[in-house]
């Protein structure tokens, strides 16, 4: 068979076109059938531009404070070092070191919560009031800047949150936090959880943890656990919304924040 150079080049050109067209044809054929999955928030989720908390110290009694701390521990499987571990399930549990306690929200004396406001002639009532302290979800959070893995980050709605999956346990965040709001798991917390709550994972040895402002409850349209049991002592709402309950409280009352002079802009206010 004799072939001219011309007809050979024609055939080669058509073949090359065919090869080039294959991916394009495939893309057109598949684009109709495969839609991408869609990820959304629940309709009932509570939203804010910047979440904040107002604690009314006048309504805070010892009993209320205790209920609040307990509710938080239960909601998030926070270990309680006073709990005696089940000897059968966790044999050979070493004795605890109370200084390694895990704290999300806890009672603190006034002079420790507000060291700059301590005064010789301070009203006696303040010295004995229970003060509750927790993560301040600072606007300029130093822990977020310190974290080398972005495990601690600031969510769009102002919550300073931890991604436990990324935490490498370096504890830079603990050094950066001026409020001592972060705790390191020096040991497996599970033996010290009285009753494990299946609605929230525990943590493991080697990660840092802190208050998450109940991000998992806000996503379901529920108030944070502390606010729910606080009998009005704790209000959580949107600081950027002038019509919100927290703003109303701040407009009507004198409120202070912890270590304001450091410029971290805490989002937790205390009505005195």
């Amino acid at each position: 068979m004799k072939k001219s150079r011309r007809s050979f080049l024609k055939a080669a050109g058509v073949t090359a076109l065919g090869i080039g067209a294959a991916p394009a044809i495939k893309a057109v054929a598949s684009s109709g059938s495969v839609a991408a999955p869609v990820k959304t928030k629940k309709a009932e989720a509570l939203n804010a531009k910047r979440w904040g908390m107002v604690i009314d110290t006048n309504k805070l009694t010892d009993e209320v404070a205790e209920n609040i701390v307990h509710a938080c521990k239960k909601a998030h499987n926070v270990p309680d070092f006073d709990h005696e571990p089940d000897a059968e399930k966790y044999p050979d549990t070493q004795p605890v070191n109370k200084t390694q306690e895990i704290k999300w929200i806890w009672e603190e004396h006034f002079e420790h919560a507000f060291p700059d406001k301590e005064d010789e002639f301070l009203a006696e009532k303040f010295r004995h009031l229970p003060f509750l302290v927790t993560c301040n979800h600072c606007k300029n959070a130093p822990c977020v800047q310190a974290c080398p893995t972005q495990a601690t980050f600031k969510r769009e709605d102002g919550i300073v949150l931890m991604d436990f999956h990324r935490c490498i346990g370096c504890r830079f965040c603990m050094a950066a936090c001026p409020f001592g709001s972060r705790s390191f798991n020096f040991r497996d917390p599970r033996p010290f959880i009285e009753e494990i709550n299946p609605d929230f994972p525990t943590r493991s040895k080697g990660v840092v943890e802190k208050c998450n402002l109940c991000a998992e409850r806000l996503a379901k349209g529920q108030q944070p656990a502390c606010a729910e049991v606080s009998e009005g002592a704790i209000t959580v709402g949107d600081l950027e919304d002038p019509a919100s309950k927290v703003r109303e409280l701040l407009a009507e009352n004198y409120a202070i924040r912890r270590k304001q002079e450091l410029g971290t802009e805490p989002s937790v206010y205390y009505i005195m």
């Binding site: 999955p37 990820k39 959304t40 928030k41 969510r155 991604d163 493991s204």
Partner: protein
């Protein structure tokens, strides 16, 4: 003379080279058969196609946790039309809410493949809690 020695040497060599295969004859373990729970059977469909799940469930879980923890998105509308509340271990629609028996499902494959996800140091399984 040397022919015999070479033949004998060859036979020994081939036998040695094939030793690993002799050794494993009959002893090879069968492919794992993860058991679907009654609940999963009733639901019929997983998040993705069966084969896609088999090959890619690790990356799906990775995607889920980033969405939930970092983007605050908790609902996942799959390409198969079903909507899931993205979770590994909490709630009825989570992986374990449907694949209720971790030992008979996840662990069957994982033990076979010698993978030991560390997720369970924190995420809980219903069994463990009821113990």
């Amino acid at each position: 003379m040397s022919k015999n020695a070479i033949m004998a040497g060859l036979v020994v060599f081939v036998a040695m080279a094939l030793l690993p295969f002799w050794y494993n004859i009959g002893g090879s373990s069968a492919a794992p058969e993860p058991e679907l729970s009654e609940k999963a059977k009733a639901a019929q469909k997983c998040v993705l196609d069966k084969y896609d799940m088999r090959a890619n469930h690790m990356s799906l879980l990775d995607e889920w946790r980033d969405s939930v923890v970092r983007d605050a998105d908790r609902l996942y509308e799959s390409t198969n039309g079903k909507t899931f509340q993205m979770s590994l271990s909490t709630g009825e629609e989570s992986c374990l809410g449907c694949h209720t028996d971790k030992e008979k499902f996840c662990d069957k494959c994982h033990t076979y493949a010698s993978v030991d996800p560390y997720c369970w140091e924190c995420h809980t399984t219903p069994k463990e809690i009821n113990q």
